[in-house]
């Protein structure tokens, strides 16, 4: 009985907070996604499927596709840069390893707005990159780099690369080196040992890193807003617009729900892949 009383004291605040300020808000946005938009920006309490039907409009499917493909490219680039990085780091002298790893995390602790702004400084027409190239190459005409999909892509990779490196490092650092030695003794060339031992054993790290990069980038709002300059729309920006300028809250709610759906499907797939991987001998 006493033990139950303790448990109640420990659990009540967290359950209260989650129910009131997380689950009820999710219910609220769900309800909003099924009502009509009012004439003057408010809402009319009238049931409709229309908000979800609009999602299948070519325009919004295109935006959705752009968000998903941008997030996929971002994940792939992070993996290509991060894997060799983590691989090298995991085999580095243990003494300096932690310092090198810390240096990856430092930028991640700085304000996201500042990190994104730094790329405005570099990429704008009078920015550092154009100035540098202009100083080196005599006939350099400044490139319009800011407010392009490329700028958004660079900003996203910059923002989320540490999320890829850390789980990869954790997986590669635990790798049993004796397995690689055994492969070598049995005559496997290094390339074969890499693809047949290192990669499969670091798969949990690859999966975790990919999920940690893909999920926040697919719903990214700030990076496309600042580096894309509102010229290229991603799902996060469209949601923002429904709430801040277009004042179509029901449609914005439907978009949010779809975005959450994509992310949850991704999460479930991740856990399933992880379980399958563990199931293998």
């Amino acid at each position: 009985m006493r033990r139950n009383y303790h448990l109640f004291i420990l659990l009540f605040p967290v359950v209260f907070w989650l129910v009131c300020f997380f689950l009820l808000p999710l219910v609220s946005v769900f309800i909003y996604s099924f009502i009509e938009r009012g004439t003057y920006g408010g809402v009319r309490w009238h049931f409709t499927w229309e908000n979800y039907q609009r999602l299948f409009d070519g325009l919004y499917l295109g935006i959705l596709w752009r968000s998903v493909s941008t997030a996929s490219v971002c994940t792939a680039v992070c993996l290509l840069l991060g894997y060799p990085f983590a691989y090298y780091l995991a085999r580095y002298k243990p003494k300096h390893r932690n310092v090198l790893l810390l240096l990856v995390v430092v930028p991640f602790w700085t304000n996201f707005l500042i990190r994104t702004y730094a790329w405005i400084l570099i990429l704008r027409t009078e920015g550092l990159l154009n100035n540098l190239l202009g100083a080196v190459l005599p006939n350099w005409g400044p490139l319009e780099l800011l407010n392009t999909p490329l700028a958004v892509q660079i900003g996203l990779v910059y923002g989320y690369l540490p999320f890829m490196i850390l789980p990869l490092y954790a997986a590669l650092e635990q790798l049993d080196v004796s397995l690689l030695e055994a492969a070598q003794d049995l005559g496997a060339p290094p390339r074969r040992a890499f693809w047949h031992i290192t990669v499969p054993l670091s798969l949990p790290g690859i999966l975790a890193g990919s999920m940690l990069v893909f999920i926040p980038t697919v719903g990214a709002f700030l990076t496309p807003d600042l580096l894309g300059g509102g010229k290229v729309s991603y799902i996060g920006n469209v949601i923002d617009r429904q709430f801040k300028t277009a004042r179509d809250w029901p449609f914005g709610s439907a978009l949010s729900f779809m975005l959450m759906g994509i992310v949850l499907v991704g999460t479930v797939l991740y856990f399933r892949a992880l379980q399958e991987n563990e199931g293998q001998p």
């Binding site: 448990l7 967290v14 997380f22 946005v29 990085f85 602790w109 990190r115 704008r124 009078e126 700030l222």
Partner: protein, 261 residues
């Protein structure tokens, strides 16, 4: 092969640090352009001190982060203790729901809270931001404290109880000091995330309740001046102090643990 790996390492560090370095260097630039070097000055820093709106935003940020961190640390620690030390019916369900605010995109959480506040007629202000930050901060504190609880064995607690300590005494004298580094680490993490948060604050703050992140955002959207470089550098310095504090507490945690056992 080794060369290629080393080149990749260099490239990644260059990629990570060039933008930050550029911001710091250009915060001392005397020109009116943000990215054209003209001469050295401390002028932009001096101007920061005269900027009343900036300081108001700072105060709001500190207030939101401070209150949200205290709330999240207490609730998150309690949740971690319940999850690690007790078996109850909805334990798995609780863990899943608890981590969901971290998994779903920021903008979805922000929109959900906004529609909720409007529907139940809670006026937007700083309180609504604090509540929102509580949601994700509780999750992060719980993760960090749970990791700490998993890391040590509870024989010390059993010994204390065998020696006649009651449950409160055991908690205050044994459990709390042992998990304190985890609690402090979780609190520091929550505070940093709260200060840094933009998206959730942007949607849940009332008009006129500007935090530092929202202030910086409006500067970026409606007229970039070199002052932004100086603000960025100050924030950067702050973050570095916080990382060092975090590491110091976490590092202290492992070394004291080694001494104890």
């Amino acid at each position: 092969m080794k060369r290629a790996l080393e080149a990749n390492i260099g490239l990644v560090y260059l990629f990570l640090y060039t933008p930050i370095f550029a911001v710091v260097v250009f915060s001392f630039n005397s020109g009116e352009q943000i990215s054209v070097w003209e001469g050295f000055t401390f002028g932009w820093y001096a101007r920061l001190f005269e900027d009343a709106a900036l300081w108001r935003a700072c105060r709001n940020s500190l207030m939101v982060a401070g209150v949200a961190t205290v709330i999240a640390t207490v609730i998150g620690t309690a949740a971690a203790l319940a999850i690690e030390r007790h078996r109850f019916r909805f334990r798995t369900a609780l863990v899943r729901v608890l981590y969901l605010p971290i998994i779903i995109p920021d903008i979805v959480l922000a929109i959900a809270l906004l529609t909720f506040y409007v529907q139940v007629r809670i006026p937007l202000g700083l309180m609504t931001v604090i509540i929102a930050h509580g949601v994700f901060n509780i999750a992060y504190v719980t993760i960090v404290v749970r990791a700490r609880l998993q890391g040590y064995d509870n024989t010390l607690e059993e010994a204390a109880r065998d020696l006649g300590a009651n449950e409160w005494q055991t908690f205050w004298r044994i459990t709390l000091p042992l998990i304190a580094p985890g609690i402090i680490g979780g609190a520091l993490l929550a505070f940093t995330l709260s200060i840094d948060d933009f998206v959730i604050t942007f949607f849940t703050a009332g008009v006129g309740y500007t935090t530092l992140s929202v202030h910086i955002y409006s500067l970026l959207k409606f007229g970039i001046t070199p002052k932004i470089n100086a603000i960025s550098t100050m924030l950067l310095a702050n973050s570095i102090v916080f990382i060092l504090l975090f590491l110091w507490f976490q590092g202290g945690a492992t070394s004291s643990q080694k001494q104890d056992f």
